[in-house]
């Protein structure tokens, strides 16, 4: 009997697995019904409504996994932006009209940048809005205007094996939700696995590590805790009684300035690679959109050069 007790999970562990499974399953059923597909003689609008109700219930359960961040305003905005982004994501992939899909994707991007703002990343919030909502969505709309001539096309109303795709995607979501939602901060001295995890070294933050390890005299530890932008400064005085000015990383500079300093010193190669990538993509786009027609046997190369293109 004792052997079984060690192998089998406890009831609370089973509940921790089943509750996310229930929530994710509701969302999966709802999303499956909302995907465009023929389901016998059932009317699409009725199915879409039923799926929306099921997915909404699943979303309510999903929101129950979140925990408020404390103060009122961040809590309110976190819930607003999170719910909006998930609803927008569902409607992006279930809309019959690609234009509606693009607009719902814009709402996902806007709420995501709101979440960036809440996480103290104002530069990324602005950058995301400019890059996505400003350029990508407008260009997608342009392509849609170019391509939408036949109205409601067949392929927009028929999903490709929706049942299997839904099962696979929501299985991934269940795994992620289960592994993320069960990480709880336990009280100190808690010896259960989750309680220990909260005090594990892997979850210590870098500035916490500095308070724990920063007093040691090992230069390796001091270098590892310091951003490389500030390592080139002269080494700290060997006199241990002298006050050592240790940079603390965050709150050293205002947000965007700190990000820029980190990007152009610690991650200089990254910035260079990003520039090279943009350049290669530019060349690739120009090469793709203006293909030279192949010279086939039977066509005169001189004529091809003169006309520019020959229709086969």
């Amino acid at each position: 009997m004792d052997m079984w007790k060690e192998i089998l999970p406890s009831w609370s562990a089973i509940g921790e697995m089943l509750i996310p499974a229930l929530v994710v399953g509701l969302g999966a059923i709802g999303t499956y019904l909302m995907l465009p597909h023929r389901h016998g003689v059932a009317r699409p609008r009725v199915l879409f409504g039923a799926g929306a109700v099921a997915a909404g219930l699943g979303l309510l359960g999903f929101v129950a996994f979140w925990s408020p961040p404390g103060p009122v305003l961040p809590t309110v905005f976190l819930y607003i932006f999170g719910v909006t982004s998930v609803i927008g994501a569902v409607l992006t992939i279930t809309s019959r009209d690609p234009v509606a899909s693009a607009l719902w994707f814009a709402s996902v991007v806007l709420s995501t940048s709101g979440l960036f703002l809440l996480a103290d990343a104002p530069f990324l919030a602005a950058g995301t809005i400019i890059v996505y909502a400003g350029a990508v969505v407008v260009t997608f709309l342009f392509v849609i205007m170019l391509a939408q001539m036949e109205g409601k096309a067949d392929y927009d109303r028929a999903a490709r094996s929706p049942a299997m795709a839904t099962v696979i995607s929501f299985l991934v979501l269940w795994c992620l939700v289960y592994s993320v939602a069960t990480v709880r901060t336990g009280p100190p001295g808690d010896e259960s696995p989750m309680g220990r995890l909260a005090h594990e070294d892997a979850l210590h933050r870098s500035y916490n590590l500095e308070t724990f390890l920063g007093d040691s005299d090992e230069p390796v530890i001091h270098q590892a805790l310091t951003p490389t932008a500030q390592i080139s400064e002269p080494p700290p005085p060997p006199d241990p009684s002298a006050p050592v000015d240790r940079p603390s990383g965050r709150a050293e500079k205002p947000n965007v300035a700190g990000l820029g300093a980190s990007l152009y010193s610690d991650h200089l190669v990254t910035a260079g690679i990003a520039g090279a990538l943009l350049f290669v993509a530019l060349i690739g786009c120009v090469a793709i959109t203006n293909p030279r027609r192949p010279i086939r046997p039977g066509h005169d190369p001189a004529q091809v050069a003169a006309v520019g293109s020959i229709r086969p």
Partner: protein
């Protein structure tokens, strides 16, 4: 003991959950939709979920690496979007359709072909909007001049 941070492990978990939801939904859209544009929007949505997780991790650990990585993701997303749009324009010019099923010739070896009639069979029926037709019925006036009749939509070869 360091001062307690507002961005606790609980808030990090909220961000990770939202990012996971965006990632899974984008994956579902990429796997199950047939429209090329919607597929690319879904891929961008997966990138959004990843960027959200990275920013939250960077904020939690108190360094800039997450945000720098997200800037890299933005760059890759911009490159991907430009190349994807170029490809979509090219593919549309060839087949006059955004259906990804038409491009199944480049599928993996050993995978059975999907007949193109499947798309029309699986498409959900279009519901007619109930109610009388709202366009006004105009009486033609005058004599119609002789002119060549041109179709509105010219389909490409």
């Amino acid at each position: 003991m360091p001062a307690t941070d507002v961005f606790s492990l609980d808030v990090l978990r909220d961000y990770l959950l939202i990012g996971a939801a965006l990632f899974a939904l984008g994956m579902l859209g990429f796997l199950s939709r047939r429209n090329l544009i919607v597929m690319f929007l879904s891929a961008e949505m997966m990138l959004q979920g990843t960027a959200l997780s990275l920013v939250a991790f960077g904020r939690y650990h108190g360094n800039w690496t997450g945000q720098v990585f997200t800037i890299m993701i933005l760059t890759v997303a911009a490159c991907e979007a430009s190349i994807a749009l170029a490809l979509i324009v090219i593919l549309y010019n060839r087949r006059s359709s955004l259906d990804v099923t038409l491009w199944q010739d480049i599928r993996e070896e050993g995978v059975a072909a999907t007949p193109t009639s499947v798309v029309a069979e699986e498409a959900e029926p279009i519901e007619a909007i109930p109610g009388p037709e709202s366009y006004p019925n105009l009486t033609p006036a005058g004599v119609e001049p002789a002119h060549p009749v041109q179709p509105w939509i010219v389909t490409r070869d």
